[in-house]
Structure formats: structure tokens, C-alpha cells
Subunit: 142 residues, 2 copies
Amino acid sequence: MTATAAQRRAQAKVEYDAFLAVCPSRQLLDRVADKWVTLVLCALGGGSDAGYGEPRAMRYSELARQLAGVSQKMLTQTLRTLERDGLITRTVTPTVPVTVTYELTELGASLRQAVATLKIWAQTHMDDVLAHRAAYDEVPGR
Amino acid sequence: MTATAAQRRAQAKVEYDAFLAVCPSRQLLDRVADKWVTLVLCALGGGSDAGYGEPRAMRYSELARQLAGVSQKMLTQTLRTLERDGLITRTVTPTVPVTVTYELTELGASLRQAVATLKIWAQTHMDDVLAHRAAYDEVPGR
DNA sequence: CGGAATCCTAACCGATACTG
DNA sequence: CAGTATCGGTTAGGATTCCG
């Protein structure tokens, strides 16, 4: 007996998943998708979400203060993955107590620029989206 | 007794969370973050992840076939939120059995363009990222 | 100060079954 | 064909505690 329809579908799914796993866009999106990734990028980029300054190095505790909502677990985790991906650098200065600073790499800065274009879109069109959303929610039967 | 340090931190967190909740960039990112949102946008945009065609209407089952990994629950859910946000339209044709087609709106098409810039970045820099990642993983003690 | 390790809950999501 | 409804497993992520 040859493959059933269900088996063929399962196979297609596996292949598609494998494709997505190595798709560069997908990998990037998975990074950017993370709430704290973009916020850290922003903070190190020298601006809060509005307004831009010069990129600058920040200490762990500075970041924790600026991103008020983050747990230290998520902050550490986020910083690790960003370091691993070469988007930021981690510098340990052996003072007492120890001082750790984080800074955008060139690669990280360029990613921040790319993400900024999404921000532009958001500022231009997000009120449209919200209007549609409100209109949609007006209709009772759904 | 006035507010403790812990209380002040908690307060800051609440305010920051509230800020993020209404931040347009954040709201957009939360949408784009969704794995299937970008893939549906892409499919309706007429291209798989590589290559572009003309935007075109697609039926529910066509989408399900092209996005091989998606469960019908996630597909429906994704389509609903996109429709709610005015990014796609849903058209029901009362044939027997019923035919439903989805199509990008102008707004949706423009978002797809914006996301495409991220794709450019990915194609340009993602191998750098992967190289950093591999180098980082080489070092045993972490 | 800058973490690492542990526990625990909320949500997400897939699989399955049923419907107009 | 194009969904809706329900159940259950997985897991992301917060709170807490401890360490160099």
C-alpha cells in the first residue's frame, strides 16, 4: 500500500518546517519577534522608542532600569542571545564589584536601522489599523 | 512611611507596561512577531518567501496547502486577526459548497513591503549572524 | 553588581471531533 | 469547503532564592 493522503500531508509539513528552519527571513523574524530584543536594541541605540541619540554603552543595571518591565531572567537571556548573534558586545571590567557593559556592534546598529523602517510604518499606518479594529468590533455577531 | 524602593520599582513597571501597550511600534511588532502572520502576508502577496509575483486572492484551502505546517486553528485565527486589522479582506461566495477567498488590502500590501526590508537585511547579514553564533558556540565553557 | 538555578503558572498551540 | 469547539501537552516567562 502506498502513502495515504494523511501521510503525504505529514511529509509536506515536515519539509516545509525544515525549509522554514533554515530560511534567513524566518530566523531573523524569530529574533525580532522577541519583545525584549527590539527594546534592548533601542535602548543601546541611544533612544527610547521616540527620538534618537548616539549609540552608547550601558551597564546591566542601567538597562534593567530603563526597560522597567523586564525580569532579570529575560534581560540576561536576551543579552546572551544578542551577544551570541554578534549584535552586541559584552565587556567585563574587573572592578569590585564587577562592572559589565553592553554595546551595539556595527551589525546590531544596522539591524536597528532595519527595524526602524517598521517603526515608520507603524507610526504612519497604525491608526488605520486601530480604526479597522474598532469598526470590526462594532459588529455584534462576532 | 513613604513608598519603598520595591514599590517604586513596581510602579515604574506598571507605567512602562502601560506605555508599551499603546506604543504603535510595539503593537505592530506584536503582530509581525506571529509566525503565521508574515507567512500569510507573503502567500497572499503572490510570492513564497523567495521571489515576487502579483498579489492575488486565495481560497482558504489554497492557503492551508501552501503553508503546509499550519494547523487549521492557527490559520483561521491568523486570518481573523488580519481581517480585523484591515490587512486582508474576506469574501464569501455562496456557492455549494461555499467558497471563501482572502486578499490583501492596500494596507496589507504596504505592510508586506515594510516587512520586505527586514528580509533584505536577513539576506544580507544573516550569514554574519550565523558565523558569530557558530564562533560563540565553539567556546566550551558556556 | 551581575548573574545562575529552581520552581511554578498562564498562554499558546496542535490534535481531534463535530457542523452548516 | 470552511470553519467552530473542546481538550490536553508544551513551554515561555515571572517570582524567588542563592552565588562569585
